[in-house]
Amino acid sequence: MSLWIDSVMRNDRAPTADFQSMLFTFFMAFVMGQVVGWVYQRTHSGLSYSQSFTASMVTLPILVAMMMLLMADNLSIAFGLLAVFAVVRFRNVLKDTRDTVFVLWSIVEGMAVGTGRSTLALVGSVFIGAVMFYLYVTQYGARHNFDTIVNLMFNSDSDEVSAAIDRVLNRHSLTSQLASAQEVSPGNVDVSYRLTLRNPARRLELESELRGLDQVQRVSIFAHEDESEA
């Protein structure tokens, strides 16, 4: 155990350009980025949460690590990077963090190829590209995973209506969450559900089943891939 702790505490080494070191650097940066992203995702409070920003937390450490491998104690390359980035930044106003990541990625790839670090460029592009696809596929950073919003209004006098609505929603969805409930008039409640449909192609069937329920007056369904979290 003490050997492991010693290995952890005293393992700082200068990065080198060999393949194994490169892989270690990228994987380590990816793991650290994941940790940063998850912590940010779990601890963020407020309305300005952005999935794109959270996803960038995963990619940025990898890019910066690649940058440091590229520079490798070379001041001229460091200053060159600084200059290029400053030029790009001032010339283009980047609204989205994800755009910044891609710009940075492009810059770093260009510098790697330009300084003859072809292996680093290739490995970096493959790894970062894979990470980007991973972030896309897993919808990394999305706090709420749903693809459909169902708004409906019903008469709340009868309890059976709620149960019937739940049965229908349960039949069609993997997960459902009551987003809001508002009594618009005495006895009439306007509710909104966030659903992850079991089969998005049968959305219309869901709508027709809901409309077929007694006491349900208005049904509207929105297909929603991403919320306003973007």
């Binding site: 290995s7 393992n11 080494r13 200068a14 080198t16 350009a17 060999d18 194994q20 070191s21 892989l23 270690f24 994987f27 380590m28 990816f30 793991v31 994941q34 003859g116 670090r117 991973y134 596929v137 897993t138 919808q139 990394y140 999305a142 995973n145 149960a163 739940d166 049965r167 929603l169 349960n170 039949r171 069609h172 993997l174 992850t196 079991r198 089969n199 998005p200 192609a201 049968r202």
Partner: protein, 441 residues
């Protein structure tokens, strides 16, 4: 509780998508952690330093004293030379050639003297052989005479010894007899006195008619007898004394003769020993022994040997007047212009060798313990990052020394390090002095 009996089946693509979105993050994170762990444990301590391809500069000295001349064609800076082939310069050897002629003439003279000496010895040998036969006969006769004389002298000495022995024995016997006679005389004197006293007493008694006169007569007879005995003893004692004197004289004479005989015998023995000390010449011997001949010719032979040594040294000196390049490379500096008189050992040119066998680098004190002989090294030639070769640390120095400027990380700060040597892998082309990047595992 809503029934799940009528639940819509989830299409496979949607199921996969849902799984990916829910599970993939965790799975990938765990896999990444495993990969990091594995790669972490496989990371070995590394030292990254700069090194330099060994630069060997050889200063070519003059092989001997002489006036320097350039070879044809004359060399200039940056000319390439080949080891053992390219002639850099030569030294004027005209004086050495004259000296060689002198030495050669001297050697011929020495050879002539040696031959003359050999002929002289040969003539002496012939004369020696001739004289040897006569000397041999004379020596043999002398030997026989000496032996005979020795034998005679021995016999004479033995006879004299026997005679002397007899005389000595007779002398002893006479001495004993003489002593006895003296004793008889002394006894007779005592007896006479006793008898006289007795007679006087008897006579007084006779006068006093107290004793018969026959007693005095008897005593007088005894007295006369004793006196007669004494007289005879005295006569005998005189005779013995005379004989003793005679014997002493004879003994002395015999002793002197014996002394003479012994001296003569010793003299003859000395002569015989002296004769034996000289090795008798044998007719079969070469006369002058081979050792004698060699001893007489030795100075000439030695002089020839010395002369040969001088000639060889001078020949070597003449042969080495041409100075060839000791290593292959390029001339970086010319120290002496042609026409200069140089002494043996003076530098003439400096050559930067093409062949470098080592890469030299320096380890900081903090990295010293991480590196050991045979540690794997990855070499990257500066300026050609794509060219990487592997080697191993061959040797680590045992002292800290000042790091050369070209290997300093910071020119303004003097650093100290332990030198290490790394052999250049075969097949790569390097230039002496070239900087390289080293990663030592």
């Amino acid at each position: 509780m809503p029934s799940t009996a009528n639940r819509i089946p989830v299409p496979l693509p949607h199921r996969i998508r849902y799984l990916l979105s829910q599970q993939l993050q965790g799975v990938l994170f765990l896999l990444s952690l495993v990969a990091v762990g594995v790669l972490w444990m496989r990371r070995t301590p590394r030292v990254i330093i700069s090194g330099q391809v060994e630069m060997i500069q050889v200063t070519v000295p003059a092989s001997q004293d002489g006036v320097l001349q350039w070879s044809e064609p004359a060399i200039t800076r940056f000319d390439r030379v080949q080891k053992g082939v390219t002639a850099i310069a030569k030294l004027d050897v005209s004086e050495s050639l004259l000296e060689m002629q002198t030495l050669t003439a001297e050697r011929r003279q020495l050879e002539a003297e040696l031959d003359a000496q050999r002929q002289s010895l040969s003539r002496d040998q012939i004369e020696w052989d001739r004289q040897t036969d006569e000397d041999h006969r004379q020596r043999k006769q002398q030997t026989i005479d000496l032996q005979r004389a020795q034998l005679d002298a021995r016999e004479h000495v033995d006879a004299l010894r026997r005679e002397w022995g007899d005389l000595d024995q007779r002398h002893r016997l006479l001495l004993i007899k003489h002593q006895e006679t003296k004793q008889q005389i002394t006894t007779a004197d005592v007896e006479i006195k006793t008898l006289n006293a007795q007679l006087a007493r008897i006579k007084s008694l006779v006068e006093q008619r107290m004793s018969p006169a026959s007693e005095s007569t008897l005593i007088e007879q005894q007295l006369a007898l004793v006196r007669k005995t004494q007289t005879d003893a005295v006569e005998l004692e005189k005779t013995i004394a005379n004989h003793l004197l005679e014997l002493n004289r004879q003994t002395q004479a015999t002793g002197e003769r014996l002394q003479g005989a012994l001296a003569e015998q010793e003299r003859i023995t000395l002569i015989a020993d002296a004769k034996q000390g000289v090795a008798p010449t044998d007719r079969a011997s070469p006369g002058l022994s081979s050792l004698d001949s060699a001893a007489m010719l030795e100075p000439y032979v030695q002089a020839l040997v010395v002369q040969d040594v001088k000639i060889q040294a001078l020949a070597h000196k003449i042969a080495s007047n041409q100075i060839l390049a000791p290593v292959s490379g390029a001339i970086t500096e010319i120290h002496q212009p042609p026409g200069t008189f140089v002494r043996g050992g003076d530098p003439i040119v400096t050559i930067a060798s093409d062949q470098s066998r080592w890469i030299v680098a320096y380890l900081d004190q903090k990295d010293r313990q991480s590196v050991a002989p045979n540690s794997k090294v990855q070499i990257t030639l500066v300026g050609t990052e794509s060219l990487q070769v592997e080697s191993a640390v061959a040797e680590i120095g045992n002292h800290y020394e000042s790091i050369p400027e070209e290997l300093l990380r910071n020119m303004d700060v003097q650093q100290w390090g332990v030198p290490i040597k790394i052999p250049l892998p075969p097949g790569i082309s390097t230039t002496p002095g070239q900087l390289v990047q080293l990663v030592i595992y």
